[in-house]
Symmetry: C2
Subunit: 195 residues, 2 copies
DNA sequence: ATAGCAATAGACTGACTGGTCTACTTTAAT
DNA sequence: ATTAAAGTAGACCAGTCAGTCTATTGCTAT
């Protein structure tokens, strides 16, 4: 059995704690305590803390990908409007977590990229998948003539993801979503404009 | 005696290890070992690991501020050219550390903002100081008519710092400076343009 | 009914954590 | 020369870390 309730509980608690405190600062015992699962079960489902961490990333990425798909590939909405909704959702999340959590993938990317190539690869793939979603949305926008075509959508997608992650980081240290608003404003004012 | 060679050795080793592995993953014993200082000395100069961490941040910020000032306030060079040199220096650093270290302040901001308000405040101030340097440089550019004046320099500065930090993060997970180049390119193509 | 495996349960281990403690050495002031 | 303080030195502490081990329970197929 792979899809067990216990396994899911571990992953959920892990995602929550790791989001709040980071990977290194989150002990296995703390995860166990918050979801009331004994250690035996943990090492039944996961071979190591790293294995567990990767599972948390996978699970988060899968569930987030659905959200992203629903937001960015909703063909009933103009592409730039979809992007704005995506940003709005991100800002909402930021408020909900009191500007403390931010983006799990971004956090781990910062914390673990220099520490473990396995983690770096996993996180990089998640980023690339997200970027791809942006690319499609931007292609739609270019096809409709909503934005200029002289910059390739891949470049724009990289720029947007990059800037957004940076804005989230800055919002955390500032404890305010203002940098996220600032980023969005200038992005739509200067970058995502018609030819 | 505040300015002791031993204290400096501790801070230097600490900055190096924390840059590579992060704060939580860097043990005091590891710092001690890399610079050959006994534990007694450590707790003679610093009251705790947190106190030490704050000293590392302070020391880094002070030395980096000099670099930043030299690059961004060099009135012999056109302001946009100064910015380009700043970005080039950042990319160089990224290559030197094999895309593993990135920006110490950004790293710690991500790792510790949700964990400790003391750290968050310290890091936030460093960011704000940097942002101020950008503001001055952008004001020069606006005064010369190199860029449009309809967006306040504070907003542009926030956008640039934010985007640059995000690009560094992305460069770490990608193990390539490409996102940094991408960011710079689009920034100068779309945002930092004359009226 | 029972054999066999999946899963639960938590005591336990050695290594390591940040931090304390006492002893010793050096330096500077008198 | 004497004394006090600054600094060096590292053994040591309680607590925590990731991970192991054995014992037991629950389920399922025969």
């Amino acid at each position: 059995m792979k899809n067990n309730a216990t396994r899911d509980k571990l992953i959920d608690s892990g995602a929550q704690l790791i989001s709040q405190q980071g990977y290194n600062a989150t002990g296995i015992n703390a995860v166990l305590k918050t979801c009331g699962v004994p250690k035996g079960s943990f090492y039944h489902y996961f071979s190591s803390k790293e294995d567990f961490g990767l599972a948390v990333i996978e699970s988060f990425a899968a569930s987030y990908d659905e959200t992203l798909s629903a937001l960015l590939e909703d063909s009933d909405t103009p592409p730039l409007e979809r992007l704005k909704r995506y940003f709005a959702t991100g800002r909402e999340h930021m408020h909900e977590c009191d500007h403390a959590t931010g983006c799990l993938i971004g956090n781990l990317g910062q914390e673990l990229s220099g520490q473990s190539d396995t983690f770096r690869d996993a996180l990089n793939h998640v980023f690339q998948r997200w970027e791809q979603r942006f690319v499609h949305c931007l292609q739609d926008a270019q096809a409709r003539g909503d934005i200029a075509t002289h910059t390739p959508p891949e470049a724009l997608a990289s720029f947007i993801l990059t800037g957004w992650e940076g804005a989230i980081l800055r919002a955390k240290t500032l404890k305010s979503a203002e940098p996220m608003e600032q980023f969005e404003k200038i992005l739509f004012q200067h970058v995502l404009v018609p030819a």
